[in-house]
Point group: C2
Chain length 222, copies 2
């Protein structure tokens, strides 16, 4: 915890990284969270895949050419990135950092590998691991998605087992057993983090100045 | 953050220390909090002052003789203690630690000086500073209590100014502007702290064992 009054990051927004094994329900939880908590914004990913019908540049994704994307990788301009089949996906630093500077809290909903990259690039983030309540439940969810072959499901399950180990690198774990309860936990983590002393240096400074400047203590009439 | 799987404190309850300047509304907030959050218990103070009509030993206070109290001070058996006029008040370690061992989360509602003692004796606690929204509001509240002389009120205001400096030693600050909002913040801090990875080592261990032992990944039929 920083104790400097003129802490530069005191007025910055929080970067909240929400991750967990594939199929755990990150997306649903993030949607509920963004509806419930004020001053919370979802980070928009960049991608090289072409826009689908109805997708708007800058809203659904930031669309860019492979050349531009690769140049940005070289320059270290992503918080995290990955190549999935023939397309790149990533989180551009500039957009996220701009929002943080404006005091906005930003949510990143990403996979475990992406979260590990963010942790390296921005360790000040709040890292939340969404966990399935148990093994069987995750299996059900992965199968229910139904869009994967048997091989792919088995691979996903094995990955999920590996991914559970990553939880130790996170700050918080939220069990997605009951959706409402899990959303309440996420909301609580964000509200609590906003109450941290280190995030409220400006407020404390203001309060202490009020105290120091007030002379009415010496002329109380009542 | 501890990363040991066999962390001894992983199953222990949380010690939540709620403090702030005199007149800030700690007591009201704690009552709301205890009604709202499950598995949360208020620590009971020991005192040498005689019981008032209706007060029950072990419920309102743990009543003890000055001799016993002083012996316990000598033996270091208080988390914090103070002498107020001719009476002692304090928080016995044994009761609090027993509840923590049972996995119960314990709330201590104490003044700034007491909280500083607890911080020395139990730095693993969660320290929450309740702040008045501004100077004028605290002044109003102290005057409204009406039971103090003018001198005493001026002294209280000066103390409050000093006490604001202590906020830097806390983990969280909660502004008691709107009572409901402040209670929500307190509740959120407790729920969030319960989600910390370091408090959920047993859960993680269990989940990972389930994963490791499950062979159904290799015989999925769907």
């Amino acid at each position: 915890m920083s104790k400097r009054i003129n802490d530069d990051t005191s007025n910055q927004g929080l970067l909240i990284v929400i991750s967990g094994p594939s199929g755990v329900g990150k997306g649903t939880l993030c949607k509920i969270l963004l509806n419930r908590v004020e001053n919370l914004f979802l980070s928009i990913s960049a991608t090289t895949r072409p826009p689908r019908v109805g997708e708007v540049d800058g809203r659904n994704y930031i669309f860019m050419s492979p050349e531009v994307f690769e140049e940005k990788i070289q320059k270290g301009e992503f918080l995290e990135w990955a190549r999935v089949y023939n397309n790149y996906y990533g989180t551009p630093k500039d957009k996220v950092f701009q929002m943080l500077r404006e005091g906005k809290d930003v949510v990143l909903e990403i996979d475990i590998q992406g979260a590990a990259q963010v942790k390296k690039n921005y360790p000040e983030g709040i890292f939340i691991f969404i966990s399935p309540p148990n093994f069987d439940e995750l299996k059900k969810r992965i199968i229910k998605r139904g869009k994967d072959s048997k091989d792919s499901i088995e691979l996903r399950m094995k990955c999920a087992a590996d991914e559970m180990k990553a939880a130790l690198d996170y700050d918080y774990i939220v069990l997605n057993d009951d959706l409402n309860q899990a959303a309440l936990c996420l909301q609580s983590i964000i509200l609590a983090e906003r109450c941290r002393i280190s995030r409220n240096m400006e407020l404390l400074k203001k309060l202490r100045e009020e105290w120091a400047n007030d002379e009415s203590v010496h002329r109380l009439t009542y």
